[in-house]
Amino acid sequence: MQHLTEEVLVAHYYHDDDAPPAAEEHLRACGECRAQYDTIRRVLALVEEAPVPDRGDAYGDQVWGRLRWKLGSDKRRRLRWQSLLAAAAVLAIAFFAGQLWHARNSSVAPVARATAPTAAVQPAAASQQQPTTDRILLVVVGDHLDSSERMLVELSNADPKKSLDVSSQQRRATELVASNRIYRQTAVQRGDKQIASILSDLEPVLVELSHTGSTLTPEEVSVLQKRIDAKGLLFKVRVMSAQNAEGAAKTAPPPNTNSL
């Protein structure tokens, strides 16, 4: 009779052997193998007696006490990372918005020239595509008002006791006069009295500035500031600019949700 190897006996103990019934049968018939198997069982039973320190009933509470602090710092670390990521995202958005604003600002006049006359000479087509042209008009006029507002702010904040170099404002005013005239005519044709009114108030200031020299004397600065103040021009432009931004947002098409 061929005896079972020690490896087979160990596998049989853990029920990992390939033929348990055959091994069982052999163990019943072979005293030598049975003795070997019993020794293995006793040794393994003894191993189970190996002491493990008892941590007591309060151990879970102690573990939680230490863990809570770690989980708290883990959470704080996560929140800190989230805050950093959020800040980075805001910076990135601000950067791209700035880039976009800059690109629009530098191309507003050509875009205006191209868009506004089309809307003016093709009223039928414009009425068919009114929501779209409304939105384009609001966006373009909004940009125009933003540029005008910045220039008015620069002039209003200038020191009236000193001469002022307005060469850059003069160049911008020259561009703005042309587009202002087109937008005003378009607004009148479309019956938008509010926009037409503010653009009418704005136009003389822009015209005057575009015809001045590159440097304004303190007196000229003072006169210009009084004209801006008298008509509440800066305030009106700001209000209209804000209303325009709201209107453009409302007429914007809904986002495409098909891809979600």
Partner: protein
């Protein structure tokens, strides 16, 4: 005693309920300590493993499948934490501490003890068992503990240790043979209790 099931506690813990996670920690800490102690052979290391285990469980709780058994899941995490700790300390493939030569071990065994059965419950015998376990290599000890105490299938032990199934089976056999060589003198005169 809180009767909330583990599944319910996990569901609540997922929503950020700290008390629910606390319940899981309190319920399973002692069992996790036992497996960690057997794996590392050191109380301080076992305490560290318990902490790390629940920290990982907290971070990975979204991955826990509710149909699974939380105890089994957290035990697996504890085993991985123990292996990581042993590997990080370069102990996994080395023998555990102490004098590991056969002679030294046998020298401590009083084979001519007239009443070996009395030794069964003695602190001395417990020391011998501990010493015998410490003589195992890292893989042997881990494979043996996972099979003997945790009841882990050989296939899973192989995956855990990154070895083939046959190699895992042979590793368990080598561990048992070493334990038998070290402890057989203490069981020859002892009636089989199982």
């Amino acid at each position: 005693m809180d009767t909330t099931t583990d599944v319910a506690a996990v569901s609540r813990a997922r929503t950020g309920d700290a008390d629910a996670f606390r319940l899981l920690v309190e319920r399973h800490s002692r069992a996790i300590f036992r497996v960690a102690y057997r794996m590392t052979g050191n109380e301080h290391d076992a305490d560290d493993v318990v902490q790390e285990t629940f920290l990982r469980a907290y971070r990975q709780i979204e991955r826990f499948e509710e149909r699974a058994n939380f105890s089994t899941w957290v035990h697996r995490i504890a085993i991985n934490c123990s292996l990581d700790l042993l590997r990080s300390r370069g102990r996994h493939e080395k023998h555990y501490g102490g004098d590991t030569s056969d002679e030294a071990l046998q020298g401590e065994v009083r084979a001519d003890d007239p009443q070996p059965d009395r030794l069964l419950l003695s602190a001395e015998l417990q020391k011998q068992v501990t010493a015998a376990l410490e003589r195992l290599s890292g893989n042997e000890r881990t494979a043996f503990i996972l099979r003997h105490f945790e009841g882990m299938p050989v296939e899973e032990i192989g995956r855990t240790l990154g070895i083939q199934v046959n190699a895992a089976k042979h590793t368990i056999f080598r561990a048992v043979r070493k334990l038998r060589e070290a402890l057989e003198p203490f069981v020859r005169s002892t009636p089989c209790s199982t």
